[in-house]
């Protein structure tokens, strides 16, 4: 029996049906008297200035800084979450500060950040806050980027995309079974979000955390990369990240470097032009020209040591390098 005042949240594909005074699965939205409210608007629990490479964005304004914010909560419940202390916590359980959208933009300007990034947890859970910041930031010439799991419905995503400059989406695996068992979600809406972001002209990069025994199957990686090439194009950078035991998956070992190198080769064989390995130093964090193989951006961790891209092109063979450079 559904009580009066029940409402359905339309933000993410979970579509929580919330009764009076019930909080959604994301922990951040409450139904009060038949109206839905955000509990985390203007209440970030994490604020920091990071290199844009940490998000990770390798083809979006390299060498610049990003004013990064997050609130508590997440739309998924990944067992391997690296930020579970805040993503899997209720807003009332974590310390937060008061920071209005105007204050966020003011601080980004003061700290000379060219970008505001919505990251650490899942920015979808603080959608209204992100949306208002993004609108103001746009007026002041600051870029908006987000690191998201892509688990958001099409309408809110399209509305947000008009103010987004770039998005890094976690494509956590390429099977519904993985999303269901390990993340508590579905794969299809994530793939749909990727297509929408590409359609709307948002610069897109993809991160895939390679977890031993769970999503490191070579066929699965090949299929994922082929899907990316077919539906998003070969110029979308793919970040293959090394897994370290965390949260509810402490029983698994870190991803062997050989597995990551093999996955990178599979991705490049599938047609992807820019494939990077993250969370471990392998040399596969540099950008090279896909045509003449000239080293264009040399990185060490999150630091850009050298960037020789000129006007978005390779200085050696004049090939256009996909990305946002200036």
């Amino acid at each position: 029996m559904v009580m009066p005042n029940a409402i359905q949240c339309e933000l993410c594909p979970t579509e929580c049906l919330l009764e009076d005074y019930q909080v959604g699965g994301c922990r951040t939205r409450i139904n009060k008297g038949g109206t839905l409210y955000s509990l985390v608007y203007g209440k970030p629990c994490a604020v920091a200035i990071d290199p844009i490479e940490k998000k990770p964005f390798f083809h979006f304004l390299p060498g610049t800084t990003a004013f990064s914010i997050a609130t508590a909560g997440c739309v998924l419940g990944c067992k391997f979450c690296q930020n579970w202390q805040i993503s899997q916590a209720n807003p009332e359980e974590v310390d937060h500060q008061d920071l209005s959208p105007e204050d966020v933009v003011r601080q980004a300007l003061y700290n000379r950040c060219r970008t505001i990034t919505y990251t650490y947890t899942e920015p979808t859970v603080f959608y209204e806050y992100m949306y208002d910041i993004a609108r103001i930031a746009r007026q002041y010439g600051i870029n908006n980027t987000m690191h998201s799991c892509g688990y958001i419905k099409e309408k809110p995503l399209r509305e947000l995309a008009q103010y987004l400059n770039a998005a890094d989406v976690d494509l956590k695996a390429f099977t519904e079974d993985f999303y269901s068992r390990i993340c508590g979600g579905r794969l299809k809406p994530v793939l749909d979000s990727l297509v929408v972001l590409k359609e709307t002209g948002v610069w897109l990069e993809i991160t895939n955390l390679v977890i031993p025994t769970l999503n490191d199957d070579r066929v699965q990686i090949r299929d994922m990369c082929r899907w990316i090439v077919k539906n998003l194009g070969p110029d979308v950078p793919l970040h293959l990240s090394r897994f370290f035991p965390s949260y509810k998956l402490k029983n698994l070992p870190p991803t062997p470097v050989a597995t990551l190198l093999d996955a990178r080769r599979i991705a490049m064989d599938a047609g992807l032009r820019y494939v990077y390995i993250g969370n471990v130093a392998t040399g596969a964090e540099n950008t090279s020209c896909p045509k003449c193989k000239q080293l264009l951006i040399e990185r060490k961790g999150f630091v850009v040591l050298r960037n020789s891209i000129k006007a978005g092109k390779c200085p050696s063979c004049n090939t256009k390098i996909a990305g946002v450079w200036g």
Partner: protein, 75 residues
């Protein structure tokens, strides 16, 4: 026999009718309680718990209550 006592003494037909009515009321009451227990009480109990958590905890933690956005087309 006093006239009032005469009224209170029931014949077999009256006894049978009274028993049937009482049994019917009992059955309806048991069924109604079962329905209420399964469908209504959990909702009421859940509402009381949620409301109580909101009043005692959520509203005391300085969280925002910013109106959320909707995307459904208006009829």
């Amino acid at each position: 026999m006093h006239p009032v006592q005469q009224v209170l003494v029931m014949n077999d037909h009256a006894k049978f009718r009274t028993t049937i009515i009482a049994a019917t009321i009992l059955i309806i009451a048991v069924l109604a309680y079962s329905v209420v227990q399964d469908l209504v009480l959990p909702d009421v109990e859940g509402y009381v718990q949620r409301r109580s958590y909101y009043e005692r905890t959520l509203s005391q933690k300085g969280l925002s209550e910013h109106k959320a956005m909707y995307w459904k087309e208006k009829p």
